[in-house]
């Protein structure tokens, strides 16, 4: 096995046993990025010098016994909408192409406290608006599984970097599926935490009532390890929750010991008491045949572990895309009003008057999809249309939340595919925004309601492309979806 294939928990052990040094490991990944990334295009910025310096410091800290985190010395990378002090944070936009943040996002501070080593910043759809990483101002990222296809988006660089072994793990952000969908397309694991579980301080805002930061990793245990490190209340984010998180990694290790040591009888009952609901709308005619089969096969696996699986109807699904997009457009147009060319970011050089200064700056600074969403957001918030669109969508949000919460009175987990199809070809959907938006149907309700959801690989389709299984949990019940995902992964690997 090559070093790039190892997980956080494996590498952490090797570092602890002094089988490998942090500097050597960091150097290895930097070399691998140099070798591979010209074909993948996952990175916007590679922080070679800082990474090597940091690796030496972390190694000294480990030698002095200062770090007890499993993340100590592990090389990782961040989506380029997460602020890093002194390191460019571009949001894959011309508007922020010269922006160097004066502070770190809270998640970055937390990872650093755990001894993380930053390799660089990852490509994404411009301002996280997209599902394919094709709207980046800088470049198109390719799917490591098939370079003719998109890695998904908007955290396409994050998923591609982990899948290609160009980072051990990465952070992404998920506003309407932007962690889960690329994780699914690239065959890796991605967790979108409950709204409020992870601080958004230092995450460049897109749609603030949906945005959450989360991990993209090689396996479920790694996902729990990273989530442990980044979750928690932050005084700089008033929407972050003071929920007392359990040690998710420890929960999984305990489960694993039980799973391995007990006899077959207990193995087959390890998920006893867990009820999994599969909305019929998640496996209907609009879903690719191979994807549907993979999901139904996954249900059988959960049943073999003692869980009860049942189909149910969730008719409100018909309205999730318009609800999501109207609110996202509105919040985006409001959040992106700050880019005025005065205080930071891009500034136009030629203009006629003040109005033209703003318009030219924003027109040259933003790409087409961002402009489209700002205009749509302006429309749905404008007087005369506010009630018909924005307020209507907020009311639909109430109805969607109600229906999901009602389903959770009966089920512990809601299960389905992450997307109706697998990774599509580069350029296939760029001319048809509605077609692109429709692909988000199974991921957006999770953000509308603020629920946690995990995406894990659950097989391949006829083109050998990865299929993603989505497990949705109750608010702040990451524990249950992580456990179910962990056991599923173990059964599939056996």
């Amino acid at each position: 096995m090559e070093l790039y294939q190892y997980t956080i928990h494996e590498l952490s052990r090797m570092i602890k046993l002094k089988e490998i040094g942090v500097y050597e490991l960091t150097k290895y990944f930097l070399n691998r990025i140099k070798e591979k990334d010209s074909k993948i295009g996952a990175y916007i910025t590679i922080t070679e010098e800082e990474a090597l310096k940091r690796a030496e410091e972390v190694q000294k800290g480990i030698d002095r016994g200062e770090f007890n985190s499993l993340l100590a010395g592990i090389p990782m990378a961040l989506k380029d909408n997460i602020c890093t002090m002194g390191i460019p944070t571009t949001c894959a936009s011309r508007m922020l192409s010269n922006f160097v943040p004066p502070y770190n996002a809270t998640v970055v501070e937390k990872l650093y406290q755990n001894g993380a080593v930053l390799l660089g910043k990852l490509n994404m759809d411009e301002f996280a608006m997209g599902s394919s990483t094709e709207s980046s101002y800088f470049k198109i990222t390719k799917n490591p599984v098939d370079p003719e296809r998109v890695p998904g988006g908007s955290s396409g660089g994050s998923a591609a970097a982990v899948a290609a072994g160009e980072a051990v793990y990465a952070l992404g952000s998920d506003t309407g599926g932007s962690i889960r969908q690329p994780a699914s397309y690239c065959g890796v694991v991605g967790l979108k935490p409950t709204y409020g579980a992870v601080s958004r301080f230092g995450l460049v805002a897109y749609a603030s009532s949906f945005d959450q930061i989360g991990p993209i990793t090689k396996d479920v245990l790694d996902c729990a390890i990273v989530f442990n490190a980044i979750a928690g209340k932050d005084e700089f984010d008033a929407t972050s929750s003071d929920f007392k998180h359990p040690d998710y990694a420890e929960e999984l290790n305990n489960l694993y010991n039980r799973y391995c040591c007990e006899n077959e009888c207990i193995k087959s009952g390890i998920l006893k008491g867990i009820k999994i609901g599969i909305p019929r709308e998640f496996i209907d005619d609009g879903v690719d045949e191979d994807v549907r089969k993979a999901i139904l096969k996954a249900a059988k696996i959960f049943e073999s572990l003692g869980a009860e699986c049942e189909e149910f109807s969730l008719p409100i699904m018909e309205y999730v895309i318009p609800t999501y997009y109207i609110i996202a457009f509105a919040e985006a147009s409001s959040n992106l009003a700050r880019y005025d060319g005065i205080k930071f970011g891009y500034r136009a050089e030629k203009f006629e008057d003040l109005m033209d200064f703003y318009k030219t700056t924003r027109s040259e600074g933003f790409g087409i999809e961002v402009k489209r969403r700002i205009l749509l957001g302006t429309y749905v918030l404008s007087s005369g249309y506010y009630d018909a669109y924005y307020k209507k969508a907020l009311k639909a949000r109430t109805l969607i939340s109600r229906d999901f919460n009602k389903a959770f009175e009966k089920y512990n987990v809601i299960m389905g595919p992450v997307t109706p199809d697998t990774a599509f070809k580069i350029g296939e959907k760029t001319d048809d925004p509605i077609k692109m938006y429709m692909g988000d149907i199974f991921t957006v309700p999770v953000n509308i309601v603020g629920l946690p959801a995990i995406s894990i690989p659950c097989g391949k389709d006829r083109n050998n492309l990865p299929i993603g299984l989505q497990l949705i949990g109750k608010h702040f019940d990451e524990k249950t979806i992580l456990k179910a995902a962990f056991l599923f992964e173990k059964v599939v690997l056996e």
Binding site: P322, K343, Y358, K359, S363, K371, Y379, Y389, A393, K395
Partner: protein
């Protein structure tokens, strides 16, 4: 209602986003199509439903009003497109009529 070129140009003023002449038609069509799709929501009866503006914000977040160290001015000013040592420099923006 069909989205017209005029509405798009009005929005472009409101949103301070200039649209190139060559893109106006494409953007008008796209936005028209997208809004038509969003009109699906009008099927939902929401007459008795309250809008959901916030998620899990059950209480106000308050803290003591205390003096704390803030960001370093030089670091903040380093982000500004044009500046001198202490100030943001903005382009000349008053014009003769």
């Amino acid at each position: 209602m069909k989205i017209s070129k005029e509405i798009i140009l009005k929005l472009s003023d409101l949103a301070r986003v200039k649209i190139d002449e060559k893109d106006v038609e494409r953007i008008t069509n796209d936005i028209d199509k997208i809004l038509r799709y969003m009109d699906k929501l009008s099927e939902l009866d929401t007459s008795q439903i309250e809008p959901m503006e916030y998620l899990n914000l059950s209480s106000n977040v308050l803290r003591e009003d205390e003096v704390r160290e803030s960001y370093d001015r030089d670091r903040l000013l380093a982000c500004v497109p044009e500046r001198n040592e202490e100030y943001v420099i903005v382009p000349g923006l008053t014009f003769e009529q």
